[in-house]
Subunit: 145 residues, 2 copies
DNA sequence: TCCATTTATATATCATGCTATCTATCATGA
DNA sequence: TCATGATAGATAGCATGATATATAAATGGA
């Protein structure tokens, strides 16, 4: 998350020592990118929160759901696809399982690995949330044009 | 922060029910925006962390430093400029004060408000960090062109 | 004047990110 | 075959975001 409400002007950026190597415009572009993304993420988190989820829990479900030709992933495969540390995945799994969105069971060939799959409740939730999710993304892109 | 390492393809987005109201391309644009910003923010946090700071602590100092014609801000003014909740500002202030980057004192006219100003140590730190900060922003913009 | 309201900031507590470390299981080569 | 190292995942504990609430000072109308 980026935490500045009002970006500096190009003049202000130029005023800072060290900004002379790069164009102030480039700096403003970078700050604008982070600001826009942060506003988008705040809105998404608020949306997910109103449905008892979070962005991470939603994406956790999505990466399983979107896998072609498979209906389950191991914890490690989920960790590979999500940009968070392993322990966060482990805890998120515990929460999603407690909430009845996923089930997990030991792999029968390798007792170290755990297979995670979505419940019907999760499929129903995704089906319900995706249209609004896409609508928010589209709206945020539109509004900044 | 956005937590997906690999974005879905346009085809995959189209495959999801509800995506038909908006173009898959728009959705990909939004996801790309969040992904790029998140990578940028991760890199910045790592940079700040290696200097004993965080993005928030850095921006806290910046908003005071960049104020024209003033060398101090109240806690409320800092909260107005930063996109975090009040209690986070209060705690960040405590940390920055303990680290010797800011000093604070009660306003003499209004005992409720507290004036915060940068120490010479903070000015020196900003002067040292800003060139690298701008270089990272510029590099991240370049790399995604 | 004085009590009710507003304003400025701090405290308490929770949720969730991180790194470091642990346990259990598997694989391999002397 | 069994000790060594690699791999999968979980646990411990910290840092820092959020919301709800408390405290203290200023303000303003009866």
């Amino acid at each position: 998350m980026f935490f500045l409400k009002t970006l500096p002007s190009a003049r202000m950026v130029e005023g800072y020592a060290g900004a002379h190597n790069v164009s102030a415009e480039t700096i403003i572009d970078a700050l604008t990118l982070m600001r826009r993304a942060s506003q988008m993420i705040r809105r998404l988190e608020s949306f997910f929160s109103s449905h008892g989820l979070s962005q991470l829990r939603f994406l956790f479900l999505i990466v399983i759901d979107r896998e072609p030709d498979r209906d389950r992933l191991t914890v490690g495969e989920i960790t590979d696809r999500l940009d968070v540390a392993g322990p966060v995945v482990a805890r998120t799994l515990r929460v999603l399982e407690a909430d009845g969105y996923v089930t997990s069971q030991k792999d029968e060939d390798d007792a170290r690995t755990k297979q995670v799959r979505l419940t019907p409740k999760a499929h129903a939730l995704l089906k319900r949330l995706l249209p609004d999710y896409f609508a928010i993304l589209a709206d945020e892109i539109e509004r900044s044009k």
